[in-house]
């Protein structure tokens, strides 16, 4: 059995490069309250836009982020949105992610304030589906997003894992 010290068998280095930044404009929050897994709420998506070296366009209205506040204080995110590129390709984007931080940061979010993103952890794993040949590379990549909560929604800087 190979060992972890066996350099030749080690997986490739994990590196990344910017894929796109997506800005999401949220509609008013819908609160479902306490459900068996935690406290559930839903943020409908009203629109937005995205831009990266290889694609840009807008976020179509519809979809949203199904939030679950867990008993350990971590917020689980579960987003589904549709992106439309400037050359009219449709891209289905989902992510699952986590957001957590000190109590004063979470309180500031609830007051709609802007908080330095270095003060909280907001990371996601986006996935993409498209039938457009020009963007088929999106079907084949694993990605990571660094999120920022904004008063009107969120901004996600998404890197492709190379």
């Amino acid at each position: 059995m190979p060992t972890f010290e066996d350099e030749g068998k080690r997986p490739a280095e994990i590196t990344s490069r910017p894929l796109l930044t997506v800005k999401i404009i949220a509609a008013p929050l819908q609160k479902f309250g306490a459900i068996p897994y935690g406290v559930r709420s839903f943020v409908p998506v009203a629109g937005g836009d995205f831009e990266g070296p290889r694609l840009r366009g807008k976020v179509l209205p519809g979809g949203g982020d199904w939030l679950l506040l867990r008993s350990d204080g971590v917020l689980e995110l579960d987003l589904r949105i549709t992106l439309e590129t400037d050359d009219h390709a449709l891209i289905y984007m989902t992510f699952q992610g986590l957001r957590h931080g000190p109590p004063d940061v979470i309180t500031a979010f609830s007051r709609g304030e802007v908080v330095d993103p270095a003060r909280y952890y907001f990371r996601t794993v986006p996935r993409f589906e498209t039938s457009a040949e020009a963007y088929a590379f999106l079907n084949r990549i694993v990605a990571i997003g660094v999120g920022e909560t904004r008063p009107d929604g969120a901004v996600h800087r998404i890197d492709e894992i190379l």
Partner: protein
């Protein structure tokens, strides 16, 4: 994006269960019976599980792994990961034949998630991670990084 090493993980797979063509692609289940993991903050052995792989029509292999980790101090950790594997046809054919190939010659990346009730390892419940894999004849080896 910045990251740091969480652990190296190696799993040993049993003979694959080939289910053949299913509505989403070609399904092959790789049972996992054992393995080991080691990182700066945790180490131990793999108790078992499997990887439910799906070969899609675009020649990408989707990975859907579920295993149980047991740390050397007796904590149980549930690990799941979603991932993708693809590469040049000759590289994939060599992997299928059970040969070792250069890990940089194909794409094998996953996004693991963890669950545990052990307070010492509760940090695993709160992190997002990325792994790079290499398929060895006995089973894959992964470098798993925590996204900081």
């Amino acid at each position: 994006m910045t990251s740091r090493l969480l652990m190296m993980l190696q799993v040993v797979v049993s003979p694959p269960q080939k289910l053949g063509a299913v509505p989403h692609g070609t399904r092959v289940i790789a049972p996992i019976m054992s393995g080991t993991f080691e990182g700066p903050r945790l180490r131990g052995k793999v108790l078992g599980g499997g990887d439910w792989t799906l070969s899609r029509s675009d020649a990408v292999l989707e990975l859907d792994l579920r295993i149980t980790l047991e740390t050397d101090d007796g904590a149980l950790i549930s690990m799941t990961s979603f991932g993708l594997r693809h590469g040049p046809p000759e590289v994939l054919a060599a992997l299928t034949r059970g040969e070792s190939v250069d890990p940089s010659s194909y794409y094998f990346r996953t996004a693991p998630r963890f669950e545990t009730s052990a307070a010492k390892y509760a940090f695993l419940n709160r992190l997002v991670a990325i792994a790079s894999g290499n398929r060895l004849p006995t089973g894959p080896i992964y470098t798993i990084n925590e996204i900081l």
